[in-house]
């Protein structure tokens, strides 16, 4: 039987592009920080050159990120309410503290690293890892608490966000390392072993990310009616070009092939793969945030 809506109001958009950019930047920051601790906290010395680059990137990105939240909220000069009127059930309250503690820890960790105090660097590195995981993980909880939106309301969301954060962090780190070595180092020589090691790490994180996105999609496509509508939206509807082609084909599958096939083990292909991943993860944030609220609630 035919049913059609004769009249209904149009809902305002709750989270938009600003929030997608914010998630993207915190993701990049958390990914860079975790890479930076590989050498300085866990002692994997082959990643030592990443330490300083990683912490500088992580701090800078996390200082920029909250400005997108200030642009997003309706009354920015009331932002201090977040620290005075607390509601510990709300992920945004968790976040307002994480967004203060994490950059401070980054600054302390970076300070001791540049001073060469290895013991304290190690301690603040270990303090920073749970903070970095929380500062990006809580953004997954923000979306997962939106219980009416099928694309958001899944327990996979925090881990999916963390894995994509690490993926984008590694890709950005590859690009920054190449630029730094090529133009700003004394020898002007790129550390190829490091780049190829990072490339290998990136490839396996991409596979993990694809697995998570795939699991999410498979369950969505057989779950309740809104979830099926969301799966349809991503696979055949308005968001399918962004989701299938840009995010998953160009942003994950093509880079994976470029990174694992031995024929493509050249610097050019690693650069291309990293650029594709960095763009692909941004599109992933956009599709999750904006695509998630595309289906009308009522």
């Amino acid at each position: 039987m035919d049913t059609q809506v004769i009249y209904n109001i149009i809902q305002q958009e709750a989270f938009g592009l600003n929030i997608a950019i914010y998630f993207y930047l915190t993701g990049l920051s958390a990914g860079s920080f975790i890479l930076s601790t590989l050498a300085y906290a866990f002692g994997m010395n082959q990643y030592k050159p990443l330490g300083k680059v990683g912490i500088v990137l992580a701090t800078m990105l996390l200082i920029i990120a909250p400005f997108f939240l200030l642009i997003h909220i309706g009354i920015p000069y009331r932002a201090w309410h977040l620290f005075v009127y607390l509601n510990f059930a709300s992920p945004i309250t968790w976040g307002s503290f994480l967004l203060v503690l994490y950059p401070i820890n980054c600054l302390i960790y970076g300070y001791f690293m540049f001073k060469g105090n290895m013991r304290l660097t190690r301690i603040f590195g270990f303090i920073g890892i749970p903070l970095a995981i929380s500062v990006h993980g809580y953004t997954g909880f923000i979306l997962a608490f939106g219980k009416a939106r099928a694309l958001w309301n899944t327990a996979l969301m925090p881990i999916l966000f963390l894995v994509s954060a690490i993926v984008s962090g590694i890709a950005l780190m590859i690009l920054v390392c190449i630029i730094k070595d090529r133009f700003f180092s004394k020898e002007k020589k790129i550390n190829l072993t490091l780049i190829f090691n990072l490339g290998k790490l990136l490839a396996w994180m991409i596979i993990f990310d694809l697995f998570l996105v795939g699991s999410d999609l498979i369950v969505l496509s057989i779950s309740h009616s809104d979830a099926q509508a969301t799966a349809h939206l991503l696979l055949l509807g308005k968001f399918s070009p962004l989701f299938l082609i840009v995010e998953n084909l160009l942003g994950k599958i093509v880079p994976f092939i470029l990174l694992v096939v031995p024929k493509f083990r050249r610097l050019t292909f690693i650069v291309v793969a990293s650029i594709l991943v960095v763009i692909g993860i941004f599109i992933m944030r956009y599709v999750v945030v904006v695509g998630g609220e595309f289906i009308p609630l009522i």
Binding site: Q12, H72, Y85, N87, T93
Partner: protein, 197 residues
């Protein structure tokens, strides 16, 4: 035994609803709602083909849920549930982060374009506190809207709900809505209008 604590509820008898929009209009005027946003509105769905067709109405207000997700997610505690069940927003505390709009399963919240804070229907608590009925209840020409205390056995709502099958919108969300409907048609809830693709 009569419970002293109040728990307000609203009941829409859709058998009586004629889709006149009087509730939506009076709400705008009572609560000073700006252009482009609504606290209450009537969704209209047509089923079948002419001449074998009929229009169905779904008047929507805030459900003032027993377990409101908007109160859970509000980071500054601006969304508050009163002891009588009315959920309202403290306009001096709201920062306009829109998280409640993202989380509400019923889409009843909006950002006031003039004040940049979230607003919604709160069953005209300023009138209820003064002993009056909400504006939409008085405006409804067919008496399809009822409002009262669920713990008062003498109230219209309790008497009507005791004798009729009632339903709420999206019970699966677990928010325990307290806006009830008699004769609710599932198609009026499930049929969605997508933006033009």
């Amino acid at each position: 035994m009569r419970n002293k604590v109040k728990r307000y509820a609203m009941l829409f008898d859709l058998r009586k609803c004629i889709g006149c929009n009087a509730c939506a209009v009076v709400c705008k005027s009572e609560n000073n709602v700006p252009l482009g946003v609504w606290r209450s509105w009537v969704k209209k769905v047509e089923k079948g083909h002419y001449p074998h067709s009929k229009e169905f109405f779904l008047p929507i207000v805030c459900n003032n849920c027993e377990k409101p997700i908007c109160v859970t997610v509000c980071p500054v505690g601006a969304s508050i549930k009163r002891s009588d069940g009315i959920v309202y927003i403290d306009p001096h505390r709201c920062i306009g982060c829109r998280y409640c709009m993202a989380a509400c399963p019923y889409g009843v919240r909006y950002i006031n374009p003039k004040l940049n804070i979230a607003e919604k229907c709160y069953w005209c608590h300023h009138r209820v506190d003064a002993g009056l009925k909400p504006a939409c209840v008085l405006a409804c020409p067919t008496g399809a809207i009822m409002f009262g205390d669920l713990n008062d056995p003498e109230s219209d709502v309790v008497k009507t709900m005791a004798k009729n099958a009632v339903q709420v919108i999206k019970p699966e969300m677990g928010t325990k809505p307290h806006t009830f409907y008699i004769d609710l048609d599932i198609d009026t809830v499930e049929t969605k209008q997508m933006e033009e693709e």
